[in-house]
Symmetry: C3
Subunit: 421 residues, 3 copies
């Protein structure tokens, strides 16, 4: 009909997947079409383990938090035996939402419509005016798979869960355990809506080439060596590099003394539950995200032996990342809202005994990532606008965008697996 | 592809209708899909008689009110012969909307665009700069079927109207006539947007199992015997039941003395124009929705002989219900706006001679149903959220949800009739 | 299934085009369906020359303005050689939007995401961390066709541009040149969102039958003879007609003295680049849109010999019109936002040396068209509501709606040509 950029959607998503060009950013439809968005929900979000909340958010029996994964709402609740459980947030009577989006504490789960009442283990215990033969036992809340990995709660909506999660949990737990996340508390939590596809949010997280231009607050904490290898070091960079080597050695010794694992593990696109863990030294005084690398909380986490303990950085596919420092942790979760809209939740954790105003100041604790999140929001919105333009054609990744490519590789693999199953 | 809850729409609405399980709430697509919403407009709202307005809203020639039924806008106007007429609210020239949504009074209907001018009987009387041979008589406003039932105005968008409406009108008129609605005035009117499918709004209206938990203001007027039969009465309930029997007898005698019909008629799902009429005694002083059952207007309606005259309650399929009391009437109309959004209009009528501030106080008159409407809005929004969740599966109706089932029965019958015609 | 107005979209756009009835307004789907909207973007906006901006908006090298044509964003920029150039507003790396919607001035075009840097001629000059063999020359900005017609900038998104544009430009330039638009400045610019399809906005512009009823401010400038021919003049109109003839003669002489063209050219539906140019005398003192036809700027435009120089009115298909007067110009551009939503940009130009507060007052300059635009916005919104109603059926054009018909003729021709190509 014409030789212009087509405005029509992909039509055939499988063809779109097949013609993906390695080394190049994805075609526009992956970020803009409703069809791909629905596919992402079905093939990615409804089939994989998703970081959802921290145990710190539900310390006591009856404490709950809800999570909305696309149209799926899930209740995560600590039951009377202290176990973390998860259920579909829907009454079994006429389908009312049980709990409003948010968190709180309950004795039982009582539907606001007709007071059907469930125990926090999901059992239906009360339903009014039922006929003889009514079988309560068949009408308990529908359970959702749930796992805690050293205090980080993951849920999986699928009937059959990815088989490698135990393996990944076994790798990650020794890295996370020293921070004792179960005995932390939520110092702050922020929800940010970004005007971009969830994959653009993730891709933005998976490279720091944009950090120099966009994140002045964040980059002061890290050594300015992003993308450099030892061979690239110019005379001008030499002092920085030496500082970096000293910090590396300090961190290695600290881990070794405490028998903490130290190696980087990078399995971002080589398994179903893709992940990466790396332990990075920090610049300046080397402790945390305070000015000049100073701590932002005076109470150290868990069994951390030393305030200069760098940044234990974990990336999980499809939708989360974590920074664990000696004095606090900051954890991130991305959820899809629409083809061009995502929700980023950031949670700051500190030792459960740390006192606000005494051990930490909320503004100091949160300022770097609050600023960084807002900067990223603008970049992601600009990226969404650009890829939505028929003038967009996929461009080449640079040499420092390997983790972006790994994310995209993983994503394409998971779509393929979805169509094969 | 997978064994998860499907996110895709029904695809085949007829299959969806065929697999409806009697005794269970409807599947999600009935409440969420655009396809079913469009079908509801075509099969229900464009084919049946719809309560639209009251004669009290257009007392004089030239008075009009518009009603938007999905994309259809209709003008209801009293013509110079005092007849109620209805027309499509669209100019026959280039299609401009003739009257903004609302009400008012006109001499002629003049298009705001190029001043094409129609009489209130629909005749085109003026159109500028037309060529020779221009036939005004072919370009009158398009008429819409309209009927008043004792002051309640119904319209039907279909070319051929349901054949049983005269029959139903003949049943209802003797019940309504004593209230003389034609000689009332609008004391108040409120429009409330509810974030739920129109059927959820109707289903919510058709049971009072939720009233105990949700409507503290409303339930004080009624005997707390909802769902009870004489056999169920416990010793604790005995005094209430005796109070109820006394009120019943009082009401029966009052009707009998005035030759007003008293029997309940319940034809909710046994005819095209489904309806129910019942005359319920009220608790407390038994007059109206004031505190402890007191009147809210000192001027009685029409020929009502006694302030203690209970609640003449009428339910009409698909979209209306009415409470006629000795001192006022409150009438309800539900219109679909989107799959998950509806408009509820509530109109309070009092005797045309009642004076605000003297015979009635607006706050007293409206407070119970204003509160009840807002409570129902929240319940309907929670129901819409729940049924939109892939975790929803239809659940069983209780023994006191028979009128909900009757509504759903009627609805499914009408869809089937639509596909058969 | 039923004999009601159908709610479903056209299904077959080509059938919709084929059954268009000459002499009648278009069917509803042309104004309401997403499918036709997408077609309009592909067949009309992506294939034809579109008035986009004025040279006055980008006087110096590095000055730019962006324009969003549906999903296409275009940068119009003056390069270092003073040439006007246009590019897709998308980075060639990962597709970020380069420039936010708006205007400004740049040295180079630098992507805000990873600082890829382009010269204002589109050449890529910087991209960080690229592998060996990276070919910068293949990754310049994608050019867009651009032409200035005596200071009015047109762009065309198609690879192959309409062949008749040079011809049309050659006709128009002698009419426009005397106003020397290149040496004007933007006194004011307003963006108005109208709740109507872009074609309803254009059709509204192409007739003045609605002006008497809707535009009290605007009509004072023009002779009240719209739709009249010399034969129609009644005795009551005689004085007006004589005043008009005098003004006509004055204008003809003024043009003749300066060798300016004077003839009307009307090729609205007889070529790909449809246009009309006509030079109308004004009523009252005959100069401009001030009270009683007074000037609104004391500095005359370009080489205009006389404040009484009428209104050089130009209409261009598909989306623009222009009024050039002795003391200012006001230019209009319509862009589609959604089936029922359009953006109208109005730009007022005055001589580049005119000083605000001295030579002109902004309120005087803009009040007539600001008022007229708001009035038209309401008419267009009413038309959109009406044609969206299933009660709408196309109606007959009157004898003074010839230019509306010409617009529709042109539009239908262009759709047909699109399907034939």
């Amino acid at each position: 009909m014409n030789n212009l950029d087509t405005l029509s959607p992909a039509g055939d998503v499988e063809a779109l997947i097949d013609r993906r060009a390695v080394g190049y950013s994805l075609e526009a439809e992956f970020y803009t079409s409703q069809e791909v968005f629905d596919l992402d929900l079905a093939a990615v979000f409804a089939k994989h383990w998703l970081f959802s909340a921290t145990e710190a958010e539900i310390p006591d029996p009856g404490d709950y938090v809800t999570i909305d994964i696309g149209p799926y709402s899930v209740i995560i609740v600590r039951d009377d035996d202290e176990q973390v459980r998860a259920f579909r947030n829907v009454c079994r009577h006429r389908g009312s939402r049980l709990l409003e989006n948010g968190c709180g504490s309950v004795g039982n789960l009582v539907c606001p419509y007709h007071q059907w009442t469930y125990r926090v283990d999901g059992t239906l215990v009360y339903a009014e005016s039922q006929p003889p033969g009514f079988d309560r036992s068949a009408l308990g809340l529908r359970p959702v798979h749930v796992r805690s990995v050293a205090g980080l709660i993951f849920v999986c909506l699928a009937d059959e869960t990815p088989p490698d999660f135990d393996e990944v949990a076994a790798v990650l737990e020794p890295y996370i355990a020293p921070f004792d996340l179960v005995h932390t508390k939520v110092a702050h939590q922020s929800d940010l809506i970004e005007e971009g596809n969830w994959k653009l949010v993730m891709e933005n997280n998976r490279e720091c080439q944009h950090c120099d231009g966009a994140h002045p607050e964040l980059i002061t904490a890290y050594f300015p060596l992003f993308g450099y290898s030892a061979n690239d070091i110019t005379p001008r960079m030499r002092p920085v590099f030496e500082r970096y080597q000293t910090a590396q050695e300090h961190l290695t010794k600290a881990c070794s003394r405490s028998n903490f694992p130290r190696d980087e593990r990078r399995e971002l696109d080589t398994r179903v539950t893709g992940f990466q863990v790396s332990h990075l030294p920090l610049d300046g005084s080397g402790s945390s995200f305070g000015p000049n690398g100073e701590p932002v909380c005076h109470k150290l986490m868990g069994n951390i032996p030393d305030a200069r303990f760098g940044d234990l950085s974990i990336h999980m596919q499809p939708n989360s990342w974590f920074h664990l420092l000696s004095d606090h942790a900051v954890v991130f979760r991305v959820l899809p809202l629409a083809p061009g809209r995502s929700l980023v939740r950031t949670t700051w954790l500190v030792h459960e005994d740390a006192r606000e105003g005494v051990d930490y100041n909320l503004e100091n604790l949160t300022s770097v990532w609050n600023a960084t999140n807002l900067q990223d929001r603008d970049l992601v919105a600009g990226a969404q606008k650009g890829v939505s333009d028929p003038g967009y054609i996929p461009g080449p990744y640079s040499m420092v965008e390997g983790d972006v490519e790994a994310f995209v590789n993983w994503y394409i693999q998971r779509l393929r697996a979805h169509f094969e199953s």
